[in-house]
Assembly symmetry: C2
Homo-oligomer: 459 residues x 2
C-alpha cells in the first residue's frame, strides 16, 4: 500500500525529508524483537516536536490513516507493528532530557529518551530512574506498555513512576495530564489511563518521571536451590516477611545452563535466586541477614556475593541478557515468551505447573522472572517451521494464562498485549474489555491510533 | 421534587422498605461534613448487593434520574450532595469484609466497610490498611475520592492501595477491573480510572485492597520550631534525604493553640512537626537519629517522644481532631478548607505565602497538613453571615490554588473536587478537562451518575 497522495503531500509539508516512503525504512518498522511481524507501514515519520506530532495526527485523522507510535522496537509482543498499514511514527529524534529537578526528584523528558540515557544524565545528581525492563527501551514506549522489570518489587512499575504526561490526541489536540505534585485528587487519572494504553488513545510527547535517591549501599548475590519449588517458596516467604528487596529474580536450571553457555559463568545447573538490597549500610546488612535466614530454611547454598559495582553490573547484565542467552540454547529456534503474574501465595504452584506442562509437551522452555511481584516468564523454544511444536507452545502458553486467571492473576505482568495476547483479553476482563473499547471509541472515533490492538474490534 | 411514580414503584419492587421518600432520611443525605449543602434527594436507597445496585441504576438510567452514591458523608467538598435531585444511594448496609488473604496481603471488602472496621478485623493478622484520611470514612468513598492522609508519604494514596474493583456502570452492567496480581500490563487501567472519579463513572460495589505488614517497631514524636519557615524547610530537607518517614505532619502555631484548647495538650504555641517512623527496631533508631540531625539544623526543640501505643494513639487522635479543634477557635464560625499540593521544593514558599495572605486579609486560618507529600490545608474561619469575610476566604483560597498551579501543583491533594473546587478544574487541566467530559459522556450517556460534579457541563 502507499499513502494517499494528498496526505503524503501534507505530511511532506510538515516534515520535509523526515517523511520516508522508501522500502528500507518501512521494512525496519515492520520488525520486532520477537517473532511477530507485519506488512510494512506505508511511510515512516520522524517528528521533532509535539506540534509536529499534532500536525501529523490531525492530517492522518482527516485522511482516516492509521498512526502507530514507534520507540526503540524492543517490544516482545509486537505493539508497534502496523497491522493495518498507515504511518509509523518514529519518536527517536525526540530524545531530549528537558529538565532535571533534583530537589523535587523529578525529570521531564521527551519520549525518545532511553532509560539508560536518562540514567547517564542523572549520574551526578545522586538520583536514578529505577524502572528497568532489561532492554534499553525508550521511556515513551515504556510508559505506553506499562513496563516494569527487575526493580518493580521495590520501586514500582511505570504506573507508579510517571507523574505527568503531554499527550497528542487522535484529532491533534495537545493535552497535559497529571501534575508535579506527589499526589492529586483533582479529577480522572488521565496519566494512569494513557500509561499502558499501547498507543491506542494518544501519542505521548513528554513525560514527567519520579526519580529515586541512589541507594547509599547496594548488595547483590546469587544463591542456588535444590529444587524449583524450594526457590520459589523462598521468594514467597521473603516477600511475606516484608524485607524490602530491591530485586529478587528466579532463574531455573535451564536458564543457569544458558547463562553458562552465553556469559561464561559457572553456575551449577540448578534453580537460583538473584537478589539485591538497597539502603543504608546497616539496613542492607540487616535485610541481607534476614533474607539469609529465610533462604537457609529452604536449603539455599553457595551464596555468591557481588561485592563490587563491576560484579553487580556483570550479574545484572547476565540477567538482562537472558532472552538472548536462552534463545541460544536451541540455535535457529524462535521463542514464544509467556508473562503471567499471580498473587504471591499462588506463585509456587503456578511455576511448578508451568514446568511440568513444558516437560510433558517435550519442549525446551527456561523459566525465569521477577518473582517478587509474582511475575514469571517461560521462553518456549520452537522450530517455527514445525507446526506441531508451535501448536504445543501455544497450548502451554494458553494453559499458563488460564491457570493465572483462575487464581485472580493476569495474562501479562509487564510485556503488555500487543499482537500476541489480544485473544486472551476477553477472558481476563469480561465486560470490562468492552468498556475499554468504549473509551477508545470516545477518544479516537476514527480508530486511527494503533488500530487492531488492545481493545475489541469495532462492530 | 419527588420520584416519577413508575420509577418509585420499580425501586420499591427491588428494595421494599429499603427505599425511603420520607423527609428525615432525605434531609440527612443533603448534609455534609463542611458547609456545603444542597436540596435533599428525592429518595434514599439502601441496597444490599451489587445486583441490587445494578437494578437501581438500570431503573434510574431508563428514567433519566440521577444517582449519587453515599458512603459516610464525611467528604469536605460536598461530593455526595444531590445537586440535581434523584436518588441518594446509601451503601452503608454493604459493610462486609468478604475475604482477607493474609498470605497475599490483600482484603476484599464491600464499599460500606469503614477503614477502622477493616483494621479492627485485621488486628490478629499482623497486617493493616494504612490509608488514613482522619475521618472514619467508608472504603468505597475513600476510593471514589482518591483519599490519602497522614500515612500517604510512606504507603501511598488510595490510587496505590486499590488493586481491583467491582463497579456497576450507569446502565446496570457489572464489571470487574484490575487483578489480584501485584502488577499487570493487560489493558487500560480501569481501576485507576474509577479511583478518584467521585461517583461520576460508576458505583463501586467491591474493592480489593493492598494490605501492609504491621511495623515491628513504631516511634512517634512531636517537636517545635521557632518559625513556620524553619519547620517547613525541615520537611523539605527530610524528604529529600530519603528517610522513609511513615508520617510527617506540619501544624502551625494557631493549630497548636487549637489542640491545647480542644485536647487539653500543652504544646507551645509555635509551629510543630509530628512525625512517625515504622520499621525494624534498628531501622527506626537509625531513621529517628538521622531525622534528629536534620531537625536540629533547623532549630527543632522540645522533642516529645510518644513511647507507648497509648501515647501515639493520643497524638494522632489529636491530629485527626484538628478540623473540629480548629473550628472551635472561633465558635459559630464556618470553615472553608483549602487543599493544595505542590512539588516539595516549592513547599516552604507556598506555606509562607499562604500564611502571609491569611494575615493580610485579617482572618483566622490555621495551617496544617501532610507536608511530606507537599500537601497542606488552611481552615479559613468565617462568619457565614458576613459576606466580606466569606469573600476574603474565597480570595485567599483562589490565590493559594493559583500559586500551586503556577509551580505545577494541584488544587486538591486529597479532598477531591466535589462542589467546592469544580470552578478551578479548567484552570488546572485545560483541554484535559474536556477529555474527562468525553470519557464521562461515553460511560454515562444520560448523565445520571452524580451529575454536575467533576467534569464540565454538557452543551
Amino acid at each position: 500500500m502507499s499513502l494517499p497522495s494528498e496526505l503524503s503531500d501534507r505530511l511532506r509539508g510538515i516534515l520535509g525529508t523526515r517523511l520516508s516512503e522508501i522500502a528500507a525504512d518501512r521494512d525496519h518498522h515492520a520488525q520486532s524483537e520477537s517473532f511477530h511481524r507485519s506488512a510494512p507501514p506505508d511511510a515512516v515519520c520522524w517528528p521533532d516536536s509535539a506540534e509536529e506530532v499534532a500536525a501529523i495526527l490531525s492530517a492522518c485523522n482527516d485522511a482516516r490513516v492509521p498512526v502507530i507510535a514507534w520507540g526503540t522496537g524492543t517490544s516482545l509482543e509486537g505493539h508497534a507493528l502496523p497491522l493495518r498499514g498507515g504511518i509509523s511514527l518514529d519518536l527517536s529524534r525526540m530524545d531530549r532530557v528537558e529538565e532535571i529537578r533534583a530537589a523535587d526528584m523529578q525529570a521531564t523528558v521527551q519520549p525518545g529518551v532511553t532509560r539508560e540515557a536518562l540514567n547517564t544524565e542523572l549520574r551526578a545528581t545522586g538520583l536514578f530512574f529505577p524502572v528497568d525492563p532489561g532492554a534499553n527501551a525508550s521511556l515513551g514506549g515504556m510508559a505506553a506498555t506499562r513496563a516494569s522489570g527487575t526493580t518493580a518489587v521495590r520501586y514500582g512499575t511505570m504506573r507508579d513512576n510517571v507523574l505527568a504526561l503531554q499527550v497528542v490526541l487522535a484529532d491533534g489536540r495537545i493535552i497535559r495530564t497529571g501534575t508535579r505534585a506527589a499526589k492529586s485528587s483533582a479529577g480522572y487519572d488521565l496519566t494512569g489511563l494513557f500509561v499502558g494504553s499501547e498507543g491506542t488513545l494518544g501519542v505521548i510527547t513528554e513525560l514527567t518521571l519520579r526519580l529515586h535517591g541512589q541507594p547509599e549501599e547496594v548488595a547483590a548475590a546469587v544463591c542456588a536451590f535444590d529444587s524449583l519449588d524450594h526457590a520459589v517458596e523462598c521468594v514467597s516467604a521473603t516477600i511475606q516477611s516484608g524485607i524490602p528487596m530491591a530485586r529478587i529474580e528466579f532463574v531455573d536450571a535451564a536458564s543457569a545452563r544458558a547463562f553458562n553457555l552465553h556469559s561464561g559463568s559457572a553456575m551449577p545447573e540448578q534453580p537460583h535466586l538473584m537478589i539485591e538490597f538497597h539502603g543504608s549500610p546497616n539496613a542492607v546488612r540487616e535485610d541481607a541477614a534476614r533474607f539469609g535466614e529465610i533462604a537457609a530454611e529452604f536449603g539455599a547454598q553457595g551464596f555468591d556475593w557481588a561485592t563490587t559495582a563491576e560484579d553487580r553490573a556483570r550479574l545484572w547484565r547476565m540477567r538482562h541478557g537472558a532472552y538472548h542467552a536462552c534463545l541460544a540454547l536451541r540455535p535457529g529456534a524462535s521463542g514464544l515468551i509467556t508473562d503471567v503474574c499471580v498473587p504471591m501465595s499462588h506463585l509456587p504452584a503456578a511455576v511448578h505447573a508451568a514446568a511440568a506442562d513444558i516437560a510433558a509437551e517435550g519442549l525446551i522452555g527456561p523459566i525465569l522472572g521477577h518473582v517478587g511481584d509474582g511475575n514469571f516468564h517461560s521462553l518456549l523454544l520452537v522450530d517455527p517451521a514445525n507446526a506441531d511444536e508451535v501448536a504445543a507452545a501455544k497450548r502451554i502458553a494458553t494453559r499458563m494464562a488460564e491457570r493465572a486467571l483462575a487464581v485472580g492473576g493476569t495474562i501479562s505482568g509487564e510485556h503488555g498485549i500487543g499482537v500476541g495476547k489480544r485473544g486472551l483479553m476477553g477472558a481476563q476482563h469480561g465486560e470490562g474489555w468492552e468498556l475499554m473499547g468504549q473509551i477508545k471509541a470516545a477518544l479516537d472515533p476514527h480508530d486511527i491510533l494503533n488500530p487492531g490492538k488492545l481493545v475489541p474490534d469495532r462492530n
